[in-house]
């Protein structure tokens, strides 16, 4: 990891690039710094803290934030008194480790790499220049990033909702959307930043949670763009919670007369001017590319679009114009976290594809210290109690809990930490375990769901079996939920620690075994996503089985005319199909279905029913790319009148150059047909852009045509906003309708009569339409059988449910199974392709291994106690238990077992034992709970 570093030049060819890196001096020796913070405490120079968006001060010697990796201090030369005025050196005087080095110099590094991924991120738009919103003049007008810090427990007000001017708690807050986005007048950012609507909704709800009063939240917006998975439900929820949403671009924010309040002037939808006082205003600022990134891109020859995002085409979403350099995240266009994570994995796949022959040639293996045998030792427990900044310490009296822990049986060591999870604490913990001869460790902090693995790694580094570890969750289960009662919370923390210590004393080491990985993949579905995933894996050197239920490859893309940037879809699909069919590592199975799946990560066996035979294949990973379909509505005369079409039907007219298109005088589009309603309470994401594209195509073919788009919110997110602007310029009329007042359609001979209300004119209008194009929803196939075969969950709308919506967007909770394309959620081609490359990348992390570990926290059934009732087999959600017919007992497949404990809870004979959670351990924990 090269911090404080920047790339200055890249030369050479993909596979062999020479990169020049300039590493700026840190002035602190990373090997010596113990991150004790004494230097920053003694440093006399206060500097605006960028991490806290300038709302707080830091020192000239600093760490960006307390969980920074690497957790090492750095001197900010531009603000250091010694560097600026020639004397001070207080940090050097007080540093106990002798880590300060004022002689540190800039270094130039020449590195050889095969490829480069640019993930430089974005900066938040600076609204200082927009004086109508008063950001520069009014202290209580803040940006969304500043508000994020205001809400944060590590922020300037320690998580208490306060406004900057007088630290009082605001009772009324307004959010202004599209500041620095969708705006060609006050700035040149014509694009939609894609994320601001959703984060504003989130901020309103979190602010309400933080507030002691019934906080009045108002969001001023143009179109509410909550187009992601489950986003619309969240928006609905916010409306139910009483958040006010006003459709208006705010005119101005001025000082409230005689107060620090903000006077907001806006025009409502009916055209009335309103003035309203707010205690605070949050500007939902958009995303921009930093000027340094633009300069570097220009130096490297990377082509950018006029907004400075990477110019990439729909079919190669993470490629740049320079071979060997790839891009992901906000740099390729404004996007949210899950989409950035997907693209990051996609870029990893694309960037390593040309280097596949050199896999595992330059990696290094980690030395793991030998494991100490502690089975004969009496328990020696160390307890580490975390403050989690103020998350725990702000409520629970941590020193009291730590002191109490010291009185518990078998506890020989207790320590209190500000952040137990920080890197320096981990290093110290390793040393303490070794010095004190600890053989069991208890951490009283947050949740094992996010942090258990980190602490287990520390145990491994200290030579302890990682299962000799127990966590007490005194944050989520305690300080967060009992924030108003510190006494009871402190008592509960002691109870939780007592329970954890009681259990820890009984823990025994558990072991894992290595199983070989079958280095081939199964891809289900040969649409664009499935074919992209299959081809990516094959090009990375692994055999792929590609199964498609229909006789043709290409899926929904076969119905599409053009992608949003104008690319010809059918030509691309043909090229992709040819490549897939010709690749010698891909075996295709058209007209085939999955009949059964057995096994687990690294070792799956799947039965495939082809047109004429049944085949059984072995594979290490599976990617589900089964797609979705266009909804066929039963309203608006669809199916009964020939003028009424869906998008795919209209695209067919385009592809066939149907003469009726030229003859048409009036065409109407209706958005959200079957989306955002009771049956499908989600946004189908692709239809707004599709309608705008088709509307423009109609105008191109016949400039005199009248096109009307009836919409609820135009959701042309990201760079797609340009199309929407172009459409309005081209004279296409956009008229909003409400769900309660849908357009009315009646038969009018060859045409249909469309009647709708124009909210601005407040009048009913009628159009005799030659074509009525319904922008219908994308709906799931609801393939429960496939979901059961792969043991993967589906949400209420029929979308496959990923392991984590933000951070693991293409993984399933069932290891070794991945997803991509529209079975995850409706999405346009570029996002499906990126997700397919991402799924391939995640699959590669499995395929690149020769073996996988199984065991650890799994169930074991004691055959001597088992009565053979098989109750456990029926409750096991993972199909991990089978019957040994000879001995008439149940047995567990350790590789399939996820350690959920359902069998252990069901077994009437206590024969099923969950390792690490056996009955004695649980009983001890319960006794501990009741011992107070």
């Amino acid at each position: 990891m090269l911090t404080l570093s920047e790339v200055t030049d890249i030369s050479g060819e993909e596979g062999n690039l020479q990169v020049k890196v300039l590493q700026h001096p840190r002035f602190v020796d990373m090997d010596k710094c113990i991150a004790c913070g004494t230097c920053a405490e003694k440093c006399p120079k206060k500097v605006e803290d960028q991490y806290n968006a300038g709302l707080m001060k830091r020192k000239a010697i600093y760490v960006p934030y307390s969980q920074t990796v690497p957790l090492k201090y750095a001197i900010d030369k531009d603000n250091c008194i010694y560097f600026q005025k020639g004397k001070c050196r207080a940090c050097e005087k007080f540093c106990p480790a002798g880590a300060i080095n004022f002689e540190d110099t800039e270094k130039e590094l020449d590195l050889k790499v095969g490829s480069v991924i640019m993930a430089p991120g974005f900066t938040s738009f600076d609204p200082s220049s927009q004086d109508t919103y008063g950001y520069a003049a009014l202290p209580n007008v803040v940006t969304s990033l500043e508000f994020e810090r205001i809400l944060s427990a590590t922020g300037p007000f320690m998580g208490h909702l306060s406004r900057p001017s007088d630290k009082s708690e605001p009772k009324k807050i307004a959010w202004f959307q599209c500041v620095g986005s969708r705006d060609m007048n006050r700035c040149d950012n014509g694009y939609c930043s894609s994320v601001c609507c959703m984060y504003a909704v989130k901020q309103t709800l979190i602010a309400k949670e933080h507030s002691d009063v019934d906080l009045d939240c108002t969001v001023f917006f143009m179109d509410m763009r909550t187009h992601g998975k489950d986003f619309d439900r969240y928006y609905e929820h916010a409306q139910e919670e009483g958040i006010r949403f006003i459709r208006s671009r705010v005119h101005s924010a001025e000082p409230g007369p005689g107060t620090d309040d903000v006077l907001v002037t806006y025009v409502d939808e009916r055209g009335h001017q309103e003035r309203e006082i707010f205690h605070m205003v949050v500007l939902s600022t958009g995303l921009e590319i930093d000027e340094h990134v633009v300069a570097l891109s220009q130096r490297l020859g990377i082509e950018l679009d006029p907004y400075h995002f990477v110019r990439s085409d729909t079919f190669h979403p993470v490629a740049t114009s320079v071979s060997g350099i790839y891009a992901c995240g906000a740099f390729t266009g404004p996007k949210d976290i899950p989409q950035s994570v997907m693209e990051a994995s996609a870029a990893a796949c694309a960037a390593t594809q040309p280097l596949a022959v050199s896999r595992n040639t330059q990696t290094k293996t980690v030395e793991i210290p030998p494991e100490k045998d502690v089975t004969r030792e009496p328990p020696k427990i160390g307890v580490f109690v975390c403050n989690c900044g103020i998350n725990i310490g702000g409520v629970i009296r941590v020193p009291e809990v730590a002191e109490f822990a010291g009185t518990l049986p078998n506890v020989v060591y207790v320590e209190e930490n500000l952040f137990t999870c920080s890197q320096d604490t981990q290093d110290k913990m390793t040393a303490v375990i070794q010095e004190q001869g600890l053989n069991r460790v208890v951490v009283a902090a947050c949740t094992p769901r996010t942090h258990e693995e980190l602490f287990q790694e520390t145990l491994i580094n200290a030579g302890l079996n990682k299962y000799l570890f127990e966590m007490a969750n005194i944050r989520n289960h305690d300080s967060w939920v009992h924030a108003n009662d510190p006494d009871a919370a402190t008592q509960k923390a002691k109870d939780l620690v007592r329970m954890a210590v009681a259990k820890a004393g009984l823990l025994s080491p558990l072991h894992q075994t290595d199983l070989p990985v079958h280095q081939s993949a199964l891809v289900v579905g040969a649409g664009v996503a499935g074919m992209t995933a299959a081809l990516s894996l094959a090009q990375q050197g692994y055999p792929v089985h590609l199964v498609e239920k229909s006789g043709t490859f290409g899926g929904n893309a076969l119905q599409l005319h053009r992608a949003y940037q104008g690319e010809d879809v059918s030509a691309y699909v043909k090229k992709l199909t040819d490549e897939v069919s010709a690749h010698d590592r891909i075996t295709v199975y058209p007209e085939s279905t999955i009949q059964g799946v057995d096994g687990f990560i690294g070792n799956f066996t799947t039965e495939i029913q082809t047109a004429d035979t049944t085949k059984t294949i072995a594979h290490g990973v599976a990617i589900l790319a089964t797609g979705a379909r266009e909804y066929k509505p039963d309203e608006y005369l669809y199916g009964t009148h020939k003028a009424v079409l869906t998008h795919s039907e209209m695209d067919h007219l385009f592809m066939n150059d149907d003469p009726r298109l030229k003859a048409a005088q009036n065409v109407v589009f209706i958005q959200c047909v079957g989306s955002r309603d009771e049956t499908h309470p989600y946004c189908s994401k692709v239809c707004c852009t599709h309608s705008v594209e088709s509307a423009l195509e109609l105008k191109r073919r016949n400039p005199d045509i009248n096109v009307y788009v009836l919409y609820r919110d135009m959701r042309t997110y990201g760079k797609r906003e340009d199309l929407y602007r172009e459409a309005r310029k081209a004279g296409i009329l956009f008229v909003r309708y409400a769900l309660q007042e849908k357009p009315k359609i009646s038969d009018s001979g060859d045409q249909v009569r469309v009647v709708f209300r124009d909210p601005i004119l407040d009048r009913e209008l009628a159009v005799e339409a030659d074509f009525l194009c319904l922008a219908t929803a994308i709906v799931s196939y609801h393939d429960q059988t496939l979901a059961q075969f792969f043991k993967v969950p589906m949400d209420a709308d029929g979308w496959f449910l990923e392991a984590h919506q933000k951070l693991r967007p293409v993984d399933f909770a069932n290891d070794g199974v991945f997803l991509c394309g529209m079975n995850h959620y409706p999405k346009p081609l570029d996002e499906s392709i990126a997700q397919a490359q991402a799924a391939a990348s995640r699959a590669l992390t499995v395929l690149a291994m020769d073996t996988i570990n199984v065991g650890g926290v799994v169930c074991h059934i004691d055959p001597d106690l088992c009565a053979g009732c098989l109750a456990c087999m029926n409750v096991c959600p993972y199909g991990a238990i089978s019957e040994d017919k000879e001995k008439n007992v149940a047995e567990v497949n350790e590789a399939l077992c996820k350690g959920c404990g359902a069998c252990a809870a069901t077994c009437p004979c206590e024969a099923a034992i969950l390792m690490g959670f056996n009955n004695q351990e649980i009983y001890a924990q319960i006794k501990g709970a009741l011992a107070a």
Partner: protein, 64 residues
């Protein structure tokens, strides 16, 4: 790929510029699929903008 350059072996090392959530995910994937990764970050530590966020939808997890 230029054929005259084949004499030089293809590198098994990659570089990621930027240590935000996207850069970190790319780096982890590549490291876990058998490549050595250099991560270049302009600030003293990684984490990017996501580390500044308080909580994220839908899990309300802190962004650490």
């Amino acid at each position: 790929m230029n054929h005259t350059q084949q004499s030089e072996p293809i590198q098994g090392t990659v570089m990621v510029i930027g240590g935000g959530i996207a850069g970190i995910q790319s780096a982890l994937d590549m490291a876990n699929s058998g490549f050595y990764v250099y991560m270049v970050e302009k600030s003293p530590g990684i984490g990017g903008v996501m580390a500044q966020l308080d909580k994220t939808f839908p899990t309300n997890d802190c962004s650490m």
